[in-house]
Symmetry: C2
Subunit: 371 residues, 2 copies
Amino acid sequence: MMRLCLALCLLFSFLQATSLFDAQSEGMGYRVERIASGLQGIPWGMAFVDEHTLFITQIQGDMLLLDTRTALVQPVFGMPFEPLYGGQGGLLDVAISPHFQEDSTLFFTYVKSINFQGATTLARATLEGHILTQWKDLLITHSTSGTSRHFGSRIAFDEKGYVYFSVGDRGMRDEAQELRSHTGTIVRLRQDGTIPEDNPFIDHPFALKEIYSYGHRNPQGLAFDPTTHRLYASEHGPRGGDEINLVEAGKNYGWPTISYGKEYWAPISIGEGTHKEGLEQPLHHYTPSIAPGSLLVYTGDAFPAWRDNLFLGALKLQHLNRIVLNKNGKVIKEERLLESLGLRIRQVIQNHEGHLYLSTDTGEILRIVPQ
Amino acid sequence: MMRLCLALCLLFSFLQATSLFDAQSEGMGYRVERIASGLQGIPWGMAFVDEHTLFITQIQGDMLLLDTRTALVQPVFGMPFEPLYGGQGGLLDVAISPHFQEDSTLFFTYVKSINFQGATTLARATLEGHILTQWKDLLITHSTSGTSRHFGSRIAFDEKGYVYFSVGDRGMRDEAQELRSHTGTIVRLRQDGTIPEDNPFIDHPFALKEIYSYGHRNPQGLAFDPTTHRLYASEHGPRGGDEINLVEAGKNYGWPTISYGKEYWAPISIGEGTHKEGLEQPLHHYTPSIAPGSLLVYTGDAFPAWRDNLFLGALKLQHLNRIVLNKNGKVIKEERLLESLGLRIRQVIQNHEGHLYLSTDTGEILRIVPQ
């Protein structure tokens, strides 16, 4: 890894941001810039560890620190082992602790090898310079399967400091309805990995107590809105039927009993249709699929007209998806940005000023700033 | 279950113990008695909850209380769900807490359904009369596989109160050498399910921290000697090569790299032979296989000449196996008792007087008392 990283350091040193294009949204001018390219590996997760430093996880297993002013990259060491990389699995998300200034703690999701099958796993570690110490697996989910599909997994924190992360159905469909495993769920834990006493299934006779919601297919977006205290998740549908859901304690989001998607191999509906009593409806669904790889609730100051909007990176219909909610949390508008770039947009985050930072599967880091 | 149990109650009421035969061992006369028969299901685990009451787990999922004076049986209710029953899996062992007089707590191992595959699981619950309350899964091991073989699992406590239980290799062989899963291990926990800080792999970069020893095939016997403070495990070999091991922290017991057994399908050795540096040798091995289903360190007063001996229930070469150790813990003698009965002996325990209680796969409960 050292050699790779030295090569990257040389590559990125002293690059300047490249302006790609200017455009308008809601009457505001914005500019799209490329601040880095040529990252050798998919930058799956990003988090700011200070105003100008992006911590980047690459699905292949490497971690980097990127200086957003100089594009200088340095490797991060200290993950004590390699994640299980393959298919949709590997090193996945990174998120900073809500008290990062004090505890220097990062949270990660990755795929752990259990008997050579993959289990989505939440871990934490302390960042000291560019070294991770005190790595601790907080929950190795019960989610192994024979496939390398649908691991999730994004991380979010609510205002009380509980940590949430998403687990896909691992290609096993019906198991998303099964509370004895973590497949197809959003999990809720304390930051030390223990189970909150008010988790919805804490008194359920056989459910895994970490589960917060279930019936999800492959949620790869998860974001908490600090204003409304709502938790949102986005998930990939089968063929059509990608969803945005308002995630609430104990609720069943229906996969695969209901779905707006079709089978890949024929125009045949999945399960029992699109509605069923006791199963939640999505806030929004996309057909054809856009393939949302991330979700952000925008709370920045740089783009006042975008405040409280949701942003989703779209991998298949390559663009940045913007969703406007009304005060009741209903979707009232959708806009597709950056379509002209034709890039698979993976992660979307904001910095302290409210600029948007995007990663692409081509190994680029883009930025959206006011024009 | 209620109907089954009412039938059993009628069946067992007011039966008297039946004397089967008398014999000699080490110059002592002993008598073998049948105290119950016709249990509909394999009595896999047994534990005395008072002087005359046996708590019995049946692999099919039922739990019973058996009065050893009257043979009266009553069902136990309160396990909140069915274990995954099939192959070698189901409801497995039961053990009383070291502080049972005060806490009325029982520990169980069973197979939990995770995505319709089985995971050996340790749980605890409180016994109130014939009802279990406060069921809690302490560790759902990472040990699922596509087979229904080699779950283990027996429970033991050491003098400090740590709880140990065994997990088989789940038919996956090489994974017994893999510290990223619980397959083929002895696990060590506190009684609340948390991980002791002095567990041997606590600082290992990727091992599961619950693991105490590894490289086991299918350990279905586990017993702590309160005199010597030694922990012993017995395990099934493949074809030949059943073992008794002295279990010590962090050690690797070699399966499948070394073994005294052969492949089932041909007289071909397994792995690299019988010895390898860094891998532990068994205290004793059996070829042909006896198939040990349980292990007891005898500490009773009724048979002074058997004190500190090991007893193993043999399922295949149907007998009760007695092993004599010298003061250094080396095996110096083996005796085969009860061969004439031709019964698959499953569990072996002792009561407060030092009488031995045995269960058989034919649903009988036997007792060995002084003649």
